[in-house]
């Protein structure tokens, strides 16, 4: 090190490292404040006043949710429509809906859902993604699952499947019986319906749209 150059000076690089790290950390903290405000859960008032939230309040289970292309944003977004019955009711209070969502989210962790499924695309890849599972045509009026479980609504079919998954095999890779009770199943379905209303910037793309593509329809 005969020629003293700043480029081979440890003190210079040490200071650079400190400044760069500090700057990146401060930027991250600042962005975190902004994001936290944007992803905070909405409430019942927002839903009644048609205020769009990235993560709507739990009473979103009282409404019909669809997933539609937004020309403005260039990708699919959840659309919250008119009232829709959920287990026979469309008047869940903030508290009731909140309690169901709490039970469902807790249940999703207690049963390790993420170690087979992906939620918001995160988790394991052994079973289908659940981000928009509530909107999956398989559970709809023309889907296979209502007939298979002998139920007449989407939520009842889902709840029945969750309680006895081993009785309704859809693939050689079967979901095991995780001892999910009727109450827990109701909570889990509420959690899935709520998750489908989260604005995920268009993920998953083309969800359920190209049903017949492979058969040339």
């Amino acid at each position: 090190m005969a020629n003293k150059s700043v480029w081979s000076d440890n003190r210079f690089w040490q200071r650079t490292a400190t400044w760069v790290t500090g700057f990146a950390s401060i930027l991250l903290i600042w962005l975190t404040f902004d994001t936290s405000a944007q992803i905070a859960m909405g409430n019942d008032q927002d839903l009644q006043n048609k205020v769009t939230k990235r993560v709507p309040g739990p009473t979103v289970i009282n409404y019909k949710i669809t997933y539609e292309m937004s020309a403005k944003r260039g990708h699919e977004v959840p659309v919250i429509g008119e009232k829709e019955k959920f287990f026979g009711r469309d008047d869940y209070s903030e508290e009731e809906a909140g309690a169901l969502l709490h039970l469902g989210k807790l249940g999703s962790q207690a049963k390790n859902c993420m170690d087979c499924h992906t939620l918001l695309g995160n988790g394991a890849y052994y079973a289908p993604d659940l981000t928009k599972a509530w909107l999956d045509p398989a559970w709809g009026p023309d889907g296979a699952m209502q007939a298979l479980t002998g139920k007449s609504t989407k939520e009842e079919a889902m709840a029945e499947f969750l309680q006895h998954p081993d009785q309704y095999p859809t693939h050689a890779r079967m979901m095991p019986d995780l001892g999910i009770t009727a109450k827990e199943a109701k909570g889990l379905v509420a959690f899935l319906k709520h998750m489908s209303s989260i604005d995920t910037n268009g993920f998953p793309r083309n969800f359920g749209k190209i049903k017949g593509a492979v058969h040339g329809k």
Partner: protein, 482 residues
């Protein structure tokens, strides 16, 4: 002089390090074993169905991965601390006590995963069975235990660092380990809002793996180079600071690439794309740095003769460790850099997110960036513990490195092909529904890729047996120069 780095005799810190390495190696074996169970289940879905389901095999597979790496990291620090600071680790008794608490807690957690598995949807499950959050499933009681153990470890590192000599390596480790311990707290709460949940969850997962762990690797790579080839501290530490600047500069905001689809605002697309595209750069730098220093040091030693630098005339005093460290430079660049980069842009990630692509990247990156260098540190420890001047390659060490590496690379390629099928069939063509998912899974390319993953996983496991044999027999093996 390299000699003072070679002996572990009489150093309690180094003795403690060997405890950590031993436990790490056992858990590493468990990781591979449960990975095999999960791989078999992809090929034969009925295997252990209802007894040890995929979810449980996978929990143990990924949690064991994290735990063995954390153990080996703690071990590495306890190993290098006396050499770097010039003094014995300060709170060695507490360090030993914490080791037993940590190891016992891990055993209890694993037994609960195996035999209780899931619980009712209430807080008792979160506290005592599982938190059900990928990678950090450990129940809440264990979380607090981990915090206590981590604080004890960081305390030991700081007390020793303050009292002894503060080299660049020790300074980096001190800053890095406090961030490492602190970030764990971001994963210790429950919320009904899954977007908020995932936002903070990534603070633990990403900021560990793509920031603090990477910097940790830079620090121990610096130590390993000084130890194995007698590289000049000044040059190595300069590179270390450059790496810290680049790794934290890209990795902290690179967090954005996990915020594309979880309910977070769109500006993360640009931030995530830009900074995660920069993330491979320090890995290239690390790669060049290892080869450059190696060439430079060798040149100096040849010019000066065998006197001065190497006491024995050998430039590399630990062949297997050196092999693993060079593999680290390659593997980090390939697995974390290339495989990470090619699905990091939001336009691509929209289709690849949550497919076997992620799994391919995960296998190659964890192996390339972390497993390799931690195995290298294990070799440095067996060399020191047994007072070996030059640790040579044996048949077992060559079989170990060849089989483990080709096994993991093979798995990575198989999973990449599987990911392709998923992207084309499940995502692009069929639209990501339940039925679309199983259409993708039933494809011939997909199922054959899964057969290959299992075969390559088996090769990896056999390689691990050679590795264990080699590490266990080094002490008595007469081929090494003592």
């Amino acid at each position: 002089m390299a000699s003072k780095y070679l002996t572990g005799a009489g150093s309690e810190s180094k003795q403690l390090a060997t405890w950590y390495f031993t436990f790490a190696a056992i858990i590493f074996g468990a990781q591979l074993l449960f990975g095999l169970v999960a791989a078999i289940q992809y090929v034969m879905p009925g295997f252990l169905y209802g007894v040890l389901d995929f979810s449980i095999a996978r929990i143990i597979h990924i949690n064991a991965l994290v735990v063995w790496m954390v153990f080996a990291m703690f071990g590495s620090v306890y190993w290098l601390l006396p050499d770097e600071t010039g003094i014995e680790t300060v709170g060695i008794k507490i360090g030993k006590l914490l080791f037993w608490i940590f190891a016992a807690a891990i055993v209890v957690v694993v037994l609960v995963y195996l035999f209780i598995q899931v619980g009712p949807a209430d807080a008792t499950t979160i506290w005592f069975i599982t938190e059900g959050r990928e990678y950090i499933e450990a129940p809440r009681w264990a979380d607090w235990g981990i915090v206590v153990v981590a604080l004890g470890f960081v305390g030991n590192l700081f007390l020793t660092g303050m009292k002894g000599k503060q080299t660049g390596i020790v300074t980096v480790l001190m800053a890095d380990m406090i961030a490492f311990a602190g970030l764990y707290l971001a994963g210790m709460f429950f919320t009904d809002n899954i977007s908020v949940d995932q936002y903070w969850w990534w603070w633990v997962i990403h900021l560990w793996v793509e920031a603090t762990w990477e910097v940790f690797v830079g620090a121990i790579a610096a130590y390993a180079l000084i130890t194995m080839i007698g590289a000049h501290r000044k040059v190595v530490e300069m590179w270390l600071w450059i790496e810290v600047a680049m790794l934290f500069g890209s990795g902290i905001l690179g967090l954005g690439h996990h915020y594309f689809w979880i309910g977070t605002p769109e500006y993360w697309w640009e931030i995530g794309a830009l900074f995660s595209a920069l993330e491979p750069l320090p890995l290239v730098a690390m790669f060049i740095h290892v080869l450059y220093d190696w060439g430079k040091e060798t040149g100096i030693q040849i010019a000066e003769g065998s006197e001065g630098h190497s006491i024995t005339g050998h430039t590399v005093n630990n062949k297997p460790a050196f092999t693993w460290v060079v593999l680290n430079a390659f593997g980090n660049f390939l697995g974390a850099g290339i495989w990470g980069f090619f699905h990091t842009l939001p336009q691509v990630n929209l289709y690849t997110h949550g497919t076997q692509f992620t799994s391919a990247h995960g296998h190659l990156a964890f192996f390339g960036a972390y497993a390799t260098i931690l195995i290298g540190m294990m070799y440095i420890a067996v060399q020191g513990t047994n007072g070996i001047k030059v640790l040579k390659n044996t048949k077992a060490s060559i079989w170990a490195v060849s089989m483990i590496t080709s096994g993991v690379v093979g798995m990575g390629i198989a999973l990449t092909i599987a990911g392709y099928v998923q992207v084309l069939v499940s995502r692009a063509q069929m639209g990501a529904t339940w039925a679309a998912y199983f259409d993708g899974q039933s494809g011939m390319w997909f199922s054959q890729a899964m057969d290959w993953r299992l075969i390559m996983g088996t090769v990896t496991f056999l390689g691990f047996i050679f590795l264990a044999k080699d590490l266990l027999t080094t002490g008595k093996n007469p081929v090494h120069e003592r």
